[in-house]
Amino acid sequence: MIVSDKDRRVIENKYHLTDKEHDPFNRFKYHGYGYDESTGLDDDEIKAGLAALSDSLKGEPHPIIKAKLFEYVLKNTRIDINEHDYFVGIYTWDRVLEPHTVNKWIYEAADKVALVLGDRKRDDLSATGYVWTSLDYHHNVPDWDSIAKLGLVGMLDRLDIAYRGFLEMGELTESREIFYRAARTELCAVISLVERMYEYSLSKSFGKQPIISESLKNLVSGAPQTTLDMLQLMYVYFMTSESTDLFQVRTLGYGLDGTLYPFFKNDIESGRFTKDEIASFIGYFMLQFSAIGNYWGQPLYLGGTNPDGTTRVNELSRLILDVYDELGIYNPKIQIKYSKSTPRDFLDRALKMIIGGTTSIVFCNEETIIKAMMRGGATYEEACMAVVKGCYEYAVRGDSVAISCNVFNALKPVELVFNNGTDPMTEIAVGLETGEVTEFKEFKDFWHAYLAQLDYAVSETLRSITEFEKYAYEVNPSLMLSLTLPACANTLTDAYDCGVRNVSDMWFTGLGTATDAVMAVYELVYETRVTTLDELKKALKCNWIGYEDLRARALSCKHKYGNGDRIADLYAGEIHRFFASRFNGAKNGHGGNIEYELHSARSFIDMGRQTGATPDGRLAGEEFSKNASPTMGMDKKGITALIRSATSLDLSIADSGTCLDCMLHPSSVQGEEGREILYGVLSTYMSLGGASIHFNIFNADTLRDAQRHPEKYQSLQVRVCGWNVLWNNMSRDEQDAYIKRAEAIAE
């Protein structure tokens, strides 16, 4: 057994008590099992100490304030070394620095931005659910190569060497001095924390203790030596960066397999650890993230192809999948880089897990990543070695930072066209006055008005975000991140102070539904002429009440994205290209790329709530399509048409990626034959220029949902042993029988 039941229970209770309610959106709010009180202060004491320290630091540069507060937390937090865990425990992880740093400084920055711009357009865009702009400390990856090769101590040496160099050359500017002092303070605080843990571990005596003590000792002495050292370091780095330094760590290793492999190989060759022992360490490691349970999930990626065409999938990649499968967890989530060089047995292993019910594996198409990144200026080598920095997004390894994340609502322009630029829900004139919609004579009038609204939102967003991004370094100095990045460490420059490329991300939410909305106007008003813009406007204003037949027509329009319908797909492609063209090749205020991402995280729900009824038949407040997917339930022609639609878009112009979500019934992918089918779907999507893809194999729960909400599952086909029936055409009893069968399949 990789992790004993008892140990598993302890780890699962390390971050929150499993018998108490846990809200994954209220991250970091909980503590699990009891910590030894003699090892430090509790949260309230730490918060009080921070408040006092923060007062005394007034007037100091922000990086210094942040670093001193960070140091205070790490010095005073309670710690734990547990007989049921290989990984240390850090008590304080409630993002306690927020009120004294980011949360305070961001409002100061927003006021300054408003003063410079002379308006608060950004607030209007946000209040209407049109565009949400924020500085982005969430889609970043440290330089795992520096962490693995130098360790904490080596990275400290690197900072000191750079400092002495600038001192000797007489080039030690004030900003370098500040960065150096701040970054050094944080790094020393982490080293002291590990030292404290090491000392504490020596006071313990249990089976795992000598191994834990050795790993901690190695980390304060130099670079990590063993696989466990590296995992321990990744964990400590993750916890201190993400919960105290307020910088999310969005992937574990440059491929967990890639970063760990030299350690793994060395451990096996030297006889330090066996493969089984290493499997166990990886199991305990992954369980930490499963137990933390952040709602966004903790991504890690595997595999990839070297610039010379050889695969990076190795023995460890396979071991990691085995461990993940045995644990049966869904977090961390695994992204597998896919190319023609990916070994088939490795893909088959992953496909088998997906068929078995794992829903946390995503495949990312390296060919599309390479195209997108090279278009953005990356070299071929950089593109091949790209890091996955979020759910699907990618970036240059060890040489970039995300500076802002801007989420666009693709349906709001439709609403604004119908209301001449004023948002009906808030009555804020947030858009462009494109004219009275009822006077539009031809479809192209409507179409151009849609694009004009979108264009205006893009311009306004760029105007405010360019100004806003100037304050990123002031709002949240990226110390824990920057001290790992060679370009920052060697120049003593924070990543947000242009130490590395600064990337602005533009997310587009609801492309599929926006296409359907525009196409409904095309079809109902101008093609079949069953309604007028006047009537449609009234229907939307009433949220379709009293216009149920018209709504039924809107829902059953033939031009819907996701069905391989040429006209709908062409318009989807045009909206996609129009949005991309506003950013592809553009630079932000920091000289970095502005990247388009066809991605929606949870915004497809939240922005949906802030958007009224739309011509595609959607009711006010309903969700949008997500990522590159069609509106839920509107893809009625099956998975092959869905993939043809999605890949008819040039997905590589979404610089920073996108994902297609696919649902399949277990009966389609059963057994050996089924795995070939799933491989056929995967390889076809990839060969047609797909980006990322995620499979959801229908289970009994989903079928029960389909029974309650038939409108969302219109394309669900149930096919057993060669006979096919449409789910919605089955009677309740037949569906019940089928669900029973699905339950049997799941077992």
């Binding site: 149920e548 037949d549 039924a552 027509r553 829902l555 059953s556 391989g564 022609k637 099956g638 998975i639 092959t640 048409a641 993939i643 043809r644 389609s668 992918v669 057994g671 034959e673 089924g674 070939e676 089918i677 491989y679 056929g680 779907v681 390889s683 076809t684 060969s687 047609l688 219109q714 086909q717 149930v718 096919r719 057993v720 042993c721 060669g722 006979w723 096919n724 029936v725 919605n728 055409n729 089955m730 009677s731 037949e734 029988a737 089928y738």
Partner: protein, 299 residues
Amino acid sequence: MKYTNNAPIIDIKRFAVHDGGGIRTTVFLKGCPLNCVWCHNPEGISRRPQIAYYQTKCIGCGECVSICDEGAHTVADGRHIFNRGSCIGCGRCADVCLGGAITFYGREMTVDELLPLLLEDRDFYENSGGGVTLSGGECLIYPDFCAELLERLKAEGIHTAIDTCGCVSRDNINKVIPYTDIFLYDVKAIDEDVHKKCTGVSNSIILENLRYLDSILKPVEIRMPYVPGYNSNQIGKIGDFLSTLSNVQKIRVLAYHNYAGSKYAALGMNNTLPERLPDDSELQQARETIAECVNATVI
């Protein structure tokens, strides 16, 4: 060369994954010489066009009433009544139905119309070892149509399969043989009286045709629906018969299910579906019995 052959189509099923290997598109043609009591595609029995009306999906929009010249659809007291007797099977009501409550089976399509639709998923066929399958009903009651369609598909390099009950003339089979990569061939019973009771027809042509395909070394996959109380006593005999063949690639024992009940009701047909479903152990037993007789994969 311009092809003009028509055939009535029930459905074009994409992502068909149990019809001859890989990801396929299956075309179901309308009309069947058999009348199996357990038939799961009852819309495939008659050659004539048919309307299926699913009352639970009707939203009462009345579109069908306006478009039907024959008065087959009426709405009274908010209730939609479909008078099947007046229906001439033109299918226009299915085109306008807003609730998706009406399905039209039997639209005439030409080879020219079908071919581009079947080529749309070519990438999926190529990446999965799939292709196109003609099924039904019984597709081979339209031999010229099938032969022409298959010939054009072969010219495009597409793998082709015919799903047949085998109850057609030798001539019909010979027309498609040059363009068919594999036959999916139903064997329902060996005893003639059992076959007649289950399907309404004799099995002599069926078994002869199967021997013939085997003799000319055509790859065949056997499909055997397992229906307790109807053909469940035929397993041993089917196994013995199959053991005399040399070119069977695979045998599928298909578990009978009764999910098609709603379809019978929607078509206004008498539901003949047997009640008893097979349990896993008897299916397993049937597969094992057949596997003992033949040198082919049994699933």
